[in-house]
Symmetry: C2
């Protein structure tokens, strides 16, 4: 009997996830605006038969543009450009529910799904940070709980809009002069706490029904949201024990909502630093850490922790008396992860900066291709992961090393596809095409949408 298959997503980011990667000789100066760079990465990921590639995003210039490439092409456009040079790989973009209108965003993802032939995915984020808020007329971030309520309603509206055309709406009957059947396209008449949207959408139902719904927040609200709506979860887990606990937690919450826990794929991030020997990998990792400019990094760490940079000393541990996660209005789970990492391993600020510089809290693993494959298999078999979010420290070389050296090992072990067998992103992840909630379509026999939309929302 064939082994259960794991899923691999390539999380791409300019010259790589290590903040100093741009200083390596291989790195292109303007990689962050350079389409050719991303085309090359997309082709490498597809060569490796990866399920998908992914761009994180926020509507703000994040961090100091002196420190590392900080510009980002808007990811729904960038993915559209990459759809043209790939045929199979899924295309996932982060987009914010706090700083978009559902009609516009649902339309962009529907368009990406049509243009790519059913390969679109949406990483749903609520966007923490006052700096982003101040690009949209606000003084500060909306409250964490309000952001999540808005996100839930945003997903409700978006899925209704995607359902506003029945799959069989267009008949194009030239003889009768009827292009679409009037009774198979309809408004959604949504009125809620945050949105009033009449609809229908002005794009036909996406090939996938809905784009794949992804989520990446790991706070309590984030996990509840994931359990209800997400079909794939990107998460940062430093230890196997934490990974197992998170996996069980989210799957259990989904099951409690009546969902099939297999319908939520858990993908922890891993920053693989690959060498011919373990020593070589460790040396590459250390070289990257030496290239970090500590003053820049200290400033960003202070911002994450809500401190003044002057409160942090490079060769001391974090100060005492940091606030609890409950008191944080920003990216709660990231805050906790950083503080716990520092406390658990008693890291100095300088050491913590090194650990965060690689993957911003994701797990860096330096070793041989065999060792990387082993740790992936171990987490997968231990119930900590349905797959991995691959975050190369350096691009393109780190992605090339993963695809050309680690993927073949996973394939040999029967854990990963050797050819694409599906056409759509949902098919790569083994997820169903959602039934249409607004029409009795031919899909209706399949019942549930697969996500938490058929379940009444809690009061």
């Amino acid at each position: 009997m064939p082994r259960k298959q794991l899923h691999l997503n390539a999380f791409l980011m300019s010259t790589g996830h290590h903040e100093a990667s741009w200083r390596l000789p291989e790195s292109r100066a303007e990689a962050d605006s350079d389409l050719e760079h991303y085309k090359n990465l997309a082709r490498i990921a597809e060569r490796g038969r990866l399920d998908s590639l992914f761009f994180a995003d926020g509507p703000v210039l994040a961090g100091d543009p002196g420190r590392r490439p900080a510009a980002k092409l808007e990811p729904t456009l960038l993915l559209t450009a990459l759809a043209a040079v790939t045929e199979h790989i899924g295309l996932i973009a982060t987009a914010s529910t706090s700083y978009n209108e559902p009609y516009n965003l649902a339309r962009r993802f529907a368009s990406l799904d049509h243009i790519s032939g059913g390969r679109a995915g949406w990483n749903i984020v609520t966007t923490a940070g006052a700096d982003a808020a101040r690009n949209f007329g606000l003084d500060d971030t909306p409250l964490h709980r309000d952001r999540y309520r808005r996100a839930a309603e945003f997903v409700e509206v978006s899925t209704k809009l995607w359902d506003s055309w029945a799959d069989d709406a267009v008949v194009a009957d030239k003889e009768a002069g009827v292009h679409a059947r009037a009774d198979r396209v309809r408004g959604i008449a949504h009125t809620g706490e945050f949105f009033r949207v009449d609809g229908p959408l002005n794009v036909q139902r996406p090939p996938q029904g809905y784009p794949l719904l992804v989520q990446a927040g790991s706070s309590e609200s984030g996990k509840d949201f994931a359990a209800r709506y997400a079909e794939a979860v990107f998460t940062a887990q430093q230890t196997l024990q934490e990974g197992i606990a998170f996996y069980a937690d989210v799957k259990g919450r989904a099951e409690a909502l009546g969902r099939n826990p297999d319908g939520v794929k858990i993908l922890p991030g891993i920053v693989p630093v690959i060498g011919d020997t373990e020593a070589e990998a460790r040396e590459l990792d250390a070289e990257l850490d030496r290239l970090i400019v500590p003053e820049y990094a200290k400033r960003q760490l202070a911002a994450t922790l809500g401190l003044d940079p002057a409160d942090l000393h490079l060769d001391r541990e974090l100060p005492d008396g940091l606030p609890d996660e409950d008191e944080i209005e920003g990216a709660k789970s990231r805050y906790t992860l950083v503080v716990e990492l520092a406390r658990r391993e008693r890291l100095t600020v300088r050491e913590l900066i090194g650990r965060l510089g690689g993957g911003r809290g994701h797990r860096t693993f330096a070793g041989t291709a065999e060792q990387v494959a082993d740790t992936i298999e171990h987490w997968f078999e231990s119930g900590a992961a349905d797959g991995f979010n691959i975050m190369p420290a350096v691009l393109p070389s780190g992605l090339e090393a993963f695809v050309d050296r680690v993927v073949p090992l996973l394939q040999e072990r029967g854990l990963f596809r050797t050819e694409y067998t599906g056409a759509t992103l949902r098919e790569h992840y083994g997820l169903p095409r959602p039934a249409n909630r607004l029409f009795d379509t031919v899909d209706a026999g399949r019942g549930h949408t697969g996500i938490g939309l058929a379940v009444p929302a809690p009061v």
Copy 2:
């Protein structure tokens, strides 16, 4: 001495501008969602060395989806996909200032400009219609004058965001560990009537400085807006006299604001219906009109005029007592154009529907390729146009006929390029790259941005 060159834009729309075009045997049933259809059109337009191609847009399902293809892929994404299969042609999309946030939209156009190598253009619209408003939590369209004030501020914010990175900001000094110079990227701290935006943008300055700024409203507010901000104007003019008057009017308003009138290109729309003989062209035009379903069309005409469909009788003229343009809160200039056309030619509702079915108020011209070239040359030489917005009644055949039969005549007459000589959309239109208003760059010597931004706004 070479002749002054005219400019040609291909205005693309599913199966063509004639509302019954989808009923012809050549038309693909799902052209409106089909990327291959648009790729084919983009390649044809580029084969003709056209300056640009263009998609109109609105965030609403406009009209009855039974009547004609009504879905529209989001145009900034569609143009991104078309950038991948073309090398030279400009890529212009409509986007609404009423239903977007400037940070998001400025970023998308900057991204399109980077991805396409400097070929992006933005047709700035304020979006009339209560149906669009009701997709964004409003009961009705904002007032006409408020929409235009918001549009002006939206352009101010967008251009500041594009200027928030100096052209020389990125140094990528690997040795020193400085990616961008801190003093060459800065916030915009915009506070106005409609928007508060801190900036900076998270995309580097576009290759063109700003994407080409296009405008298409012909009301008094529309013409004032065009005179201040637009570098190209799409307009509907039925007669040569009206064309000359509009041309002089907009150029005069631009000059009065201190702009070079050559910096505003006027492009009337023309719906060319081309036959081997004039009789053949007229027969194709008549065949299309016969395919219109009059009940659908009557409903839309009634909506444009703010009437009940029952007030219109197919074989009578428009009723008396229609409101003045001043009383209309929707698309004012379109309203006036329709009413004036009907009154001037004493058209019945059925006849008016035929005239509007082809180009929705734009000028339909049925004739031989020679006759189409003649009328283009005549308008161009008479001071009614700097070029034309080509709106084929049927796609792809109408675009093919124009490119393969009319363009060669214009080239023989020395009126149109035989090869692309510039790399960017601005270069195709002979327009300058705007100086950066926020930084003293190497561009500064060139002075003015070219558009009305250096001129203080009226109180």
